[in-house]
């Protein structure tokens, strides 16, 4: 073996060794059952879903309810109220589906739905997209009212207990509950009888009905109509939200109000922040267990005769990153596939808006924060793993890091509501939280100097952390020391006490 064949250029890591170490770590996990179970989980889930869809099994069948009304008013009132709610729900669903149409046609479509009803809107959409007609469907009713099989509550007991069944179109069905309204029209005393009392939509429906009734009666007592009140609320003044960045080119009369597409970069930033968190969480377990395995195997010392400490660290990081990517591959492929499919076949106006919402600079900057954030935390976890001698040690050592990452979740939540707040601005520059916070802020087009400062600080921190962690890694590997070594180091170096 010649001297030149294996030594890399002075100071530069040898990528083939890093790759070899990464692949060994990666394949070590890929060969386990656990990996394939999690890898195939979405496929298994999809297959299960298709199987359920193609079978006749209905996991949430509608509940059959009946009404015994002594008031002669409220029983029918409750059923009418439910029918009105259901119509409103279906109309909302169809209105939401307007996004399937080109933006220029959406307003007209919404007007037609408001005027002609949800069914007409559905029919129009299904005619417009016949290939997807089966997928476009309205939410099913959760309750169906049937005539009481017996005129009195004691008579219904056999049905409510499940001893007897209803006959619905020739099929047996269980009576879920009975609404019994005693008293008078002016003073009703409603009761709901059901064995399924933990989750009772009918009970909530009755409460909503009587709340509405109380409102109507109160308004009518004052000479006002409930319909008038509802109309007034419906026609209230609404506020539009604008982004000053869009002001250029827009006029006061024709301003570019913020739409869902404008909010997309925020959602993407949050998605990327969560992706980083998930990668670190998923990779952290592998990094810690891998380091403990290395220490137990005692192979590192042998590897060091041909490999640099930094190469082992980088190899382990890359291996963990590859494993995380592989575990999430089905989701990544589905997301990217959907995105590419949308960019190719989607509504051209929306595609153009998405392209505008995600300029290349934002994508590249987000990627840089993603990679640096991962390396930053992975370095720390490897160093801690090198000091651990057992999984208990690893858990103890990694707890503070996990707490810091939970802070990252807090920043993500806060950042969504107030991306330009002082807290989020600080978090987007402070290296421990900047990978999470800046990916969210990028959507609100922060000042360039803040992005560059954050990136520079994070990159410098990564170099510093890797250097310190390489020393800890070296110490941990060669000394075979555990958690106690940190305490001894602290007492000796910081407290200047003899150990």
């Amino acid at each position: 073996m010649s001297a030149s064949s294996n030594a890399s250029r002075k100071g530069l890591p040898n990528f083939s060794r890093i790759w070899l170490i990464a692949m060994r770590d990666f394949m070590g996990y890929v060969k386990t059952w656990g990996f394939w179970l999690s890898f195939l989980f979405p496929v298994i889930g999809l297959g299960f879903g298709i199987m359920m869809e193609s079978s006749d099994i209905d996991f949430s069948p509608p509940r059959y309810e009946t009404v015994i009304d002594q008031t002669g008013v409220h029983g029918q009132g409750i059923m009418d109220f439910y029918a009105a709610e259901r119509e409103e729900q279906m109309t909302s669903s169809v209105l939401a589906m307007a996004i399937l149409l080109p933006e220029s046609e959406q307003e007209d479509f919404r007007e037609r739905v408001e005027r002609d009803g949800a069914d007409a809107g559905m029919a129009e959409l299904q005619a417009r997209y016949p290939a997807a007609a089966e997928q476009i469907e309205l939410p099913k009713a959760t309750m169906i009212f049937v005539d009481p099989p017996a005129p009195t509550l004691p008579g219904l007991t056999a049905w409510l207990d499940g001893d007897r069944s209803l006959d619905i179109d020739g099929k047996a069905a269980r009576l879920n509950g009975a609404i019994v309204i005693r008293g008078t029209a002016e003073d009703p005393q409603p009761q709901y009888w059901s064995k399924n009392f933990n989750n009772a939509p009918a009970e909530r429906l009755i409460n909503r009905y009587f709340r509405d009734l109380a409102k109507r009666r109160y308004l009518e007592a004052g000479g006002l109509s409930a319909a008038g009140y509802d109309e007034a609320v419906s026609g209230r003044t609404r506020v539009d939200v604008f982004d000053p960045a869009e002001l250029s080119g827009a006029t006061e009369d024709d301003a570019a109000a913020i739409s869902m597409l404008d909010r997309l970069p925020f959602f993407a930033g949050i998605g990327l922040s969560f992706f980083l968190l998930m990668s670190i969480f998923a990779g952290s377990f592998m990094l810690l267990t891998s380091m403990i395995e290395e220490k137990m195997n005692k192979l590192l010392e042998m590897m060091l005769a041909s490999t640099r400490f930094s190469e082992i660290m980088l190899g382990k990081m890359l291996g963990a990153a590859m494993l995380t990517m592989a575990s999430l591959a089905p989701y990544i492929i589905l997301t990217l596939g959907g995105l590419i499919g949308f960019l190719i076949f989607g509504n051209p106006e929306q595609v153009a808006a998405i392209r505008e919402a995600f300029p290349l600079s934002t994508i590249v900057t987000s990627f840089a924060f993603l990679v640096l954030g991962y390396v930053f935390y992975a370095s720390i976890l490897i160093a801690l793993g090198a000091l651990a001698q057992s999984m208990q040690d690893a858990q103890t050592l990694s707890l503070p890091i996990m707490l810091v990452m939970f802070m990252g979740i807090g920043v993500i939540m806060f950042g969504f509501n107030a991306p330009d707040s002082t807290l989020v601005t600080f978090a987007s520059i402070f290296p421990l939280t900047s990978p999470f916070a800046m990916m969210i802020r990028l959507a609100s087009d922060p000042p360039l100097w803040q992005v560059l400062l954050s990136l520079g600080l994070l990159a410098a921190s990564v170099v510093g952390v890797m250097s310190v962690c390489a020393r800890i890694f070296r110490f941990g590997v060669l000394s075979g020391s555990g958690v106690g070594a940190i305490g001894r180091w602290f007492r000796k170096t910081i407290l200047r006490k003899a150990v």
Binding site: N6, S8, I21, K298, L299, E301, M302, A305
Partner: protein, 314 residues
């Protein structure tokens, strides 16, 4: 670096951990083609010295030269190192383990696996090629790790306690491996606290005690430091009185013979002459070859030996 320059040179190196000296002012060289035994009890400073030789830890004082330069990256691929503590990746099999280390040392994938197969066949592990490391016996796993360390055919082998944990049969196999490697002109430095291996294998030995070098020379030179012994037996009385003046220590063996630990200036012909003069008819006269262990005890003293070992276990 020419062909006769030392492959490894430790020049007055010292190293302390937490203020406690592990190695103090140690110097020695390993020249091309030598088999050098690095001897001493546990805790004598052997492993720290080897780690400094490989550049894993930096000396507090002194300097180290490996292949004429600083140890570390410039020697990658040229050194095969078997550390004292052993282990293998449990989920890898024997050939994967060997090929992995060979590839880290610069071999191509194809060559690495071909070499692994060849070595496993050659050293009697052909049937275990695809056996998972976790399913191997300790002896087999240790052999696989040794093969992993040497598969890339390095110029210089550093083996830290290679015989520890092996049964006598496997120790013999390992000795043969070391001889075979040496026969190819390779240079070997191995540490051990079992002197018999060094006696049988080494051209030269370096003895360590309490972090210091106490001897550096050939095995015969080391044995010169060992006290000589002779076993004597006679059917007559008066043997003990006749020979006591030649001995540092006299012990009676279970078979009745006397075991004399000779004084430094005592000569065996003088003992024979004294016996004849005293009328003691000898039935046994057996000068004993000194062992390296006895030489080591003579060099460092029994107290130092015990101290080294107790420091290790403390």
């Amino acid at each position: 670096m020419d062909a006769t320059s030392p492959i490894l040179r430790l020049n007055s190196v010292s190293k302390s951990f937490g203020g406690k000296p592990a190695v103090s002012d140690v110097s020695f060289e390993v020249r091309p083609g030598e088999i050098v035994g690095f001897l001493g009890p546990n805790g004598a400073g052997k492993t720290t010295s080897l780690r400094m030789a490989l550049g894993y830890v930096s000396p507090d004082a002194g300097d180290v030269s490996l292949f004429g330069g600083s140890p570390g990256e410039s020697a990658f691929g040229r050194v095969g190192f078997l550390p004292e503590e052993r282990g293998l990746y449990k989920k890898q099999n024997a050939r994967e383990s060997i090929a992995y280390m060979a590839r880290l040392n610069g071999m191509t994938r194809r060559d690495a696996f071909a070499t692994a197969d060849d070595m496993l066949d050659r050293y009697g592990l052909g049937d275990a090629k695809r056996k998972k490391n976790k399913d191997m016996s300790k002896g087999m796993a240790q052999k696989v790790q040794l093969l992993s360390a040497i598969a890339h055919d390095p110029e210089f082998y550093i083996l830290d306690e290679p015989f520890s944990g092996l049964d006598p049969v496997n120790q013999k196999v390992l000795e043969e491996m070391v001889r075979e490697i040496a026969s190819r002109g390779r240079t070997i430095l191995f540490s051990t606290h079992v002197m018999e291996h060094a006696e049988r294998l080494c051209d030269r030995i370096v003895l360590m005690s309490r972090g210091q070098k106490v001897f550096d020379g050939s095995v015969p030179e080391a044995l010169d430091h060992a006290p000589r012994r002779v076993i004597l037996a006679s059917e007559n009385s008066g043997l003990t009185e006749a020979v006591t003046s030649f001995a540092q220590d006299v012990e009676r063996r279970e078979d009745g013979a006397l075991d004399l630990l000779l004084k430094r200036d005592a000569q065996t012909p003088d003992i024979l002459e004294r016996c004849v003069q005293a009328g003691v008819r000898l039935t046994r006269f057996e000068p004993m070859r000194a062992s390296l262990h006895e030489a080591f005890v003579a060099l460092v003293g029994e107290d130092a030996l015990e101290s080294d070992m107790s420091e290790e276990t403390a």
